[in-house]
């Protein structure tokens, strides 16, 4: 009995939630339900086009369904026991072939114009190569030698409902793409493995990222702001978890950011020289593991049977640190395991390896040896 009652209660509760959602939405702004106007001249043009077509469709719909509903109302068997007998009329049929055709031309003209302005081939002031990886984005600023990866920064506990979700749930990353306002920024979009698609609604840019090919898109943002986007081509398991965040700032702020980025790369190299203890490495490695490895190998290093190997108790992680370094540096051929040589600095590579060798009881079961940044440097030297 109690079961039934609690079931009824939970259904009631859900129902109230839905009703509440509906009423809430009714008062919410129309904008929440519609395409964004965006932040650029092109995106506003696209929005206007969208609204134009939408209203044309509404008008046609009202007319056509008006006649239909009128017929359904006025010509029921009760009101009109004997049907008319007409069944063709060349003039009418010709009219409703030609008129829609003219309406279509009226739509095609502005659409073609907008498309032409999107296909503008002039060079950008700033060129950023965007590379889609399973499941993160890499950005290379071609003029300034800035290079970084942007991972989802939402906590796994939020995704698995263990803690409340933050405001920017699934729309936040650890490294934001920064661009200056008023400059033409060109994105050269490609992919590392499978096809992805780079979409920032505020710029009206959506371009597929295809391995081996470069697709271009460009934008000029008028005002500073923060813009969020997503991957829109199914690219495997974590397709839903590779967001994009772009920040438009004033030119001086942008220049400063570039300088900081370049300085950061140098600072990271200095960390390599430092003498590290196991505890320090494990501490540094934990957050890196969560950022880079959890998606496949899981929070407890258990992996997914048959797809992603377990790290907890893995023979390589326990006893073969040379091979483990090699796997992280080179990736595993033909496997989902990619090379992290470019993504992780030496110190971070060492930290994350040490973390896996010291966690989940691995230290007790295996040799427990740590890997220090110098090991990675040695490895790289041996290769080149």
């Amino acid at each position: 009995m109690t079961n039934v009652r609690s079931l009824i209660f939970s259904i009631k509760k859900q129902f109230t939630v839905i009703l509440f959602a509906l009423s809430n939405k009714a008062s919410a702004e129309w904008d929440d339900l519609n395409m964004t106007q965006g932040a650029t001249a092109i995106s506003r043009e696209v929005y206007d086009l969208h609204m134009l077509i939408f209203w044309i469709c509404v008008v046609i719909g009202v007319l056509v369904f008006g006649v239909m509903f009128y017929s359904m109302y006025a010509y029921t068997k009760k009101k009109n026991p004997v049907a008319a007998t007409f069944h063709e009329n060349t003039k009418v049929e010709l009219a409703w072939t030609i008129i829609p055709f003219l309406i279509l031309i009226a739509m095609a003209v502005p659409a073609s114009k907008t498309l032409q302005s999107i296909y503008n081939d002039e060079a950008g002031d700033i060129n950023i190569q965007v590379i889609g990886h399973q499941w993160k984005w890499q950005y290379r600023y071609l003029e300034d030698d800035v290079n970084f990866f942007a991972n989802l920064s939402t906590d796994l506990d939020e995704i698995y409902n263990k803690v409340p979700k933050g405001e920017n749930y699934l729309q936040e990353v650890d490294e934001i793409v920064v661009i200056p306002v008023g400059k033409k920024v060109r994105f050269l979009i490609t992919a590392n493995d499978v096809i992805h698609s780079w979409w920032v609604p505020a710029f009206a840019i959506k371009q597929d990222a295809i391995p081996g090919f470069i697709n271009t898109a460009w934008t000029i943002v008028d005002e500073p702001g923060l813009f969020r986007g997503k991957c829109t081509e199914l690219c495997g398991k974590n397709h839903g978890f590779m967001p994009i965040v772009v920040k438009a700032v004033e030119q001086d702020e942008y220049d400063l950011w570039i300088k900081e980025k370049q300085a950061g790369a140098i600072a990271l190299a200095e960390l390599t020289e430092k003498d590290w203890t196991a505890a320090e490495l494990v501490e540094r490695g934990e957050s890196l593991y969560i950022k880079n490895c959890v998606a496949c190998h899981g929070p407890n290093g258990a992996g997914v049977t048959g797809i992603f190997p377990a790290l907890a108790g893995s023979d390589i992680v326990l006893n073969n640190k040379t091979r483990q370094i090699e796997i992280l540096m080179e990736g595993v051929q033909g496997a989902a395991m990619q090379s992290y040589a470019e993504q992780l600095a030496e110190v971070d590579m060492a930290a994350v390896i040490t973390y896996t060798r010291r966690s989940w009881g691995n230290a007790e079961k295996g040799d427990g040896e740590i890997v220090v940044p110098k090991d990675i440097v040695e490895y790289k030297k041996a290769k080149i």
Binding site: E122, H133, L188, G306, N320, R323, Q333, G334, I384
Partner: protein, 186 residues
């Protein structure tokens, strides 16, 4: 009844024809791409010499490289940005090194941005035409590109990006199983 058999034969022939047609789409697509620049690939030019003429305006050429997943080589342009003159012969190189202890074959795929610049880039020589670049363990190599940008290049194009992505030619299928055995088996 004879009529029926005729219809069946015709339809079966149509089915077979469409099946063959689907394979014919592969070369047709290449031709189509060549004409329209659909996939941004630059094919080897047969009449490149004719584009070498008077020195034209200055444009900037930007070379970018990328290693596809599972390709461990070092692979990068010797020089990232060059100012060149249209109508003149230009030579560039890419540096490649096989950092593994196995012999490997790489294959470079090229792409151009903006895509409509493609028709004006005449490549006389490019390592990306090769079906495979074989490197012994530890071997390094300078890969050549010889090209001309035609004087007819539309005026609004001032910057051309040439992208090269290097793939491992023998990338194996079935990511999942191999990976598994790799970790568990050693």
């Amino acid at each position: 009844m004879g009529n029926k058999r005729k219809t069946i034969l015709k339809l079966s022939a149509a089915v077979a024809g469409m099946y063959l047609f689907s394979f014919l789409l592969v070369p047709l697509y290449d031709v189509f791409c060549d004409i329209t620049g659909l996939n941004g690939k630059v094919a080897q030019s047969t009449n490149a010499e004719s584009s070498i003429s008077v020195e034209g305006r200055e444009i900037s050429l930007q070379f970018i490289s990328h290693n596809n997943a599972g390709m461990p080589w070092v692979f990068k342009p010797s020089k990232k940005v060059s100012k060149i003159k249209t109508g003149t012969l230009y030579e560039a190189t890419f540096y490649a090194k096989n950092t593994t202890d196995k012999m490997m074959t790489g294959r470079a795929v090229n792409s151009v941005a903006p895509s409509n610049a493609k028709d004006y880039i005449k490549k006389i020589e490019c390592f990306c035409f090769a079906e495979g670049i074989e490197l012994m363990p530890g071997e390094e190599i300078l890969l050549p590109i010889k090209m001309v940008v035609d004087n007819e290049l539309p005026k609004n194009i001032k910057n051309i990006v040439l992208s090269y992505t290097i793939f491992d030619s023998n990338i194996e299928h079935s990511i999942t199983m191999d990976h598994d055995s790799d970790l568990a088996g050693s």
